[in-house]
């Protein structure tokens, strides 16, 4: 082992060129979340615990519906990216790593679709 060169030691462990895109994309989603999270949070806090009709009224308004949809899409993307990095840092067994990366992606994709569907249904039916 100690006679191996540094080059030989990293050979076959995967690409070293693919990280920048992911890193930059993570910053972009975090920048987008600065206004989106604030625009989402305060109306949401106001509606939590309110009665059903009031909630429908708020989120059938185009402003709140569009903000909530954008927030959930970007939030789920950001969670997918952040958790991917955490998984890559702490999970080392190859099969577990691959399956958790796939599960992570599918989970946040599904969560985003469900949230967007729910908000769209409220916006279009009220």
């Amino acid at each position: 082992m100690s006679y191996l060169t540094d080059r030989k030691r990293v050979d076959g462990l995967g690409v070293a060129r693919g990280g920048v895109e992911h890193w930059i994309s993570q910053r972009v989603t975090s920048i987008a979340l600065i206004p989106l999270s604030l625009m989402f949070l305060f109306p949401f806090l106001h509606n939590l615990g309110a009665d059903h009709a009031a909630v429908l009224q708020t989120y059938s308004h185009p402003y709140h519906a569009i903000v909530a949809v954008m927030f959930f899409i970007v939030l789920c993307k950001h969670l997918h990216q952040g958790l991917q990095v955490v998984i890559e840092d702490y999970v080392h067994a190859p099969r577990l790593l691959l399956s958790s990366l796939i599960l992570n992606k599918l989970f946040w994709g599904a969560t985003a679709v469900m949230a967007v569907f729910a908000i769209a249904k409220i916006a279009f039916s009220a």
Binding site: R7, L45, L48, V55, G82, V86, A115, F117, I122
Partner: protein, 128 residues
């Protein structure tokens, strides 16, 4: 280049004997709050699905989220959100190349902690 003694060197840092510092503690807190907010995201998505489904189901989910257990999760998530928000701004500032001196790093860390606690209390007052 090729280090012949690659496998035998001491590892650094040894977390067990390393004194916690504001830099390292806030760094790991950023991760923990990020992971933790997964739960709040799923719960809020569930809340919207319930609102889209009907008044009865909405009452169940909204009732859970405003029960003591739901409020506990949401208040913890709110604190996690504000910390991640302010610490995220700190990270973006570093990414832009500013504020990386030791004094500045510690100062901005203290500001992030104070701001996140203040913003959480303010939100609780607004929501009640």
């Amino acid at each position: 280049m090729a280090d012949a003694n690659q496998g035998n060197r001491p590892l650094s840092p040894h977390l067990q004997v390393y004194r916690p510092q504001i830099t390292s503690v806030l760094s790991i807190l950023n991760r923990i709050t990020g992971i933790g907010m997964s739960l709040a995201t799923v719960l809020i998505a569930w809340w919207f699905l319930a609102a889209a489904t009907g008044a009865e189901y909405f009452a169940v989910v909204d009732g859970f989220l405003t029960s003591w257990f739901g409020i506990l999760i949401l208040v913890a998530s709110l604190l996690a959100f504000w910390f991640h928000f302010f610490n995220g701004l700190r990270h973006l500032r570093w990414d832009a190349g500013y504020g990386m001196g030791m004094k500045s790093v510690m100062r901005s860390g203290q500001v992030a902690v104070v701001m996140s606690i203040a913003a959480t209390i303010l939100c609780i007052i607004l929501a009640v």
